[in-house]
């Protein structure tokens, strides 16, 4: 027994180290699925395109002022935007304009946009 060659013991030792390493890797991989899901959900939940579409619809509405809509038609237009946002996008939308202001030589109208879908709340004042 005393004369055995013990040169290969490091192989066994490395085996143990690799086993311990694999254990910790498994722990990390276990966490990664959950982290990936949370991040992906966060990105998917954010209604970027919904907000952009809404802004476009609101700008179209203010463009249509020049076509000479009657006050009743204007009211219907606003009601439609609000109703479609609620029906299709599940978002409570409210927008209004205040008196036009002179900004760098141009007359611009401040439009206030409010958007809330239970997860994301968005408020904007845009000079259009």
């Amino acid at each position: 027994m005393a004369c055995m060659n013990e040169d290969g013991q490091w192989i066994v030792l490395m085996g143990l180290l690799v086993a311990v390493g694999l254990f910790f890797l498994a722990l990390i991989i276990n966490q990664s699925a959950l982290v990936g899901q949370t991040t992906a959900e966060g990105v998917l939940e954010f209604p970027k395109n919904d907000i952009r579409d809404l802004r476009l619809a609101i700008f179209d509405y203010y463009d249509s002022y020049e076509e000479g809509l009657t006050p009743l038609e204007q009211q219907h237009y606003v009601d439609d935007i609000v109703r479609i946002s609620l029906e299709r996008k599940n978002a409570v939308v409210h927008f209004w304009n205040t008196t036009p202001e002179e900004i760098s030589g141009r007359t611009l109208c401040p439009i206030h946009i409010h958007y809330h879908n239970g997860v994301t709340k968005y408020d904007e004042t845009v000079y259009y």
């Binding site: 005393a2 959950l34 959900e41 609620l86 599940n90 809330h116 879908n117 997860v119």
Partner: protein, 253 residues
């Protein structure tokens, strides 16, 4: 390595080592095994919590993202997973706008997991994932539905997710939950100044989750107040109540 090995007996050494190994196995069987079984059932419940949240996300896709059909594969272990039709479930939410003009019961239906070895019961009801322990009062909400109050327009939005099936279904092992959106409707109800929107929750056959609902409804996102009547909540300062009702059909599990 010149050690005197006169008093070393291989037979005694073998018996000693064998004795240690056998008593080790004995200790693990006696004390370790029950702990392992308990841990296993805890893991099963925890996996099912995650699976339920995945199903809840699928339901959100059906309701909020105009997706017509969804299916998810999941592993149900250490318990049974069942679908309860809204008409058999018995659980409902009653919503009023504070007057007698609008009072309506919304029946819910549920997806429920019951653990065999443990006491955990997980339920997906009205878009919320909740857990409770059998034979014990109290419950907790693991994932919330998306009710909200918008303070700048004083709008209160309530989502109702109704679950329907053609037959009773229960399963354990590998399952695929197939579901589709049957129809949806939006109601806009005016709330007159001075009136409060009231919501009343009544539990169904998968158990009483009133504590979970109370904590959710009185929390920050919804901000309702408890009333004198048990299980009834009211929201002040609302001018418009919106109720969106979705009917989700579970085709197969």
């Amino acid at each position: 390595m010149k050690i005197n090995e006169k008093a070393v007996s291989e037979a005694i050494g073998f018996v000693l080592i064998l004795g240690i190994v056998i008593s080790g196995i004995g200790l693990v069987t006696l004390y370790g095994y029950p702990v392992l079984v308990k841990e296993q059932s805890n893991t099963d419940v925890r996996n099912m919590e995650r699976a339920m949240i995945v199903i809840q996300n699928d339901m959100k896709s059906l309701c909020f993202k105009n997706v017509p059909y969804k299916e998810t594969a999941l592993q149900v272990s250490g318990g049974t997973f069942e679908v309860i039709n809204a008409s058999d479930y018995g659980g409902y939410i009653n919503v009023t706008n504070g007057t007698a003009d609008f009072q309506q019961d919304y029946y819910l239906g549920a997806l429920t997991y019951r653990s065999d070895r443990g006491t955990g019961v997980i339920t997906l009801e009205n878009g919320a994932v909740m857990i409770r322990q059998d034979w014990a009062a109290g419950s907790a909400m693991l994932a919330e539905p998306r009710w909200f109050y918008d303070d700048s327009t004083k709008t209160f939005v309530i989502y109702v997710m109704n679950i329907t099936t053609d037959t009773y279904m229960a399963k354990s092992g590998m399952t695929t939950v197939r579901m589709s959106l049957e129809d949806s409707s939006t109601q806009s109800i005016p709330v007159w100044p001075g009136d409060n929107v009231t919501v009343e929750y009544t539990g169904g056959s998968s158990g009483d989750y009133s504590t979970a609902w109370e904590n959710y409804l009185t929390g920050t996102s919804v901000g309702m107040d408890k009333t004198a009547i048990d299980g009834k909540y009211e929201r002040t300062d609302v001018s418009k109540l919106v109720i969106k009702e979705y009917r989700i059909k579970i085709r197969d599990i």
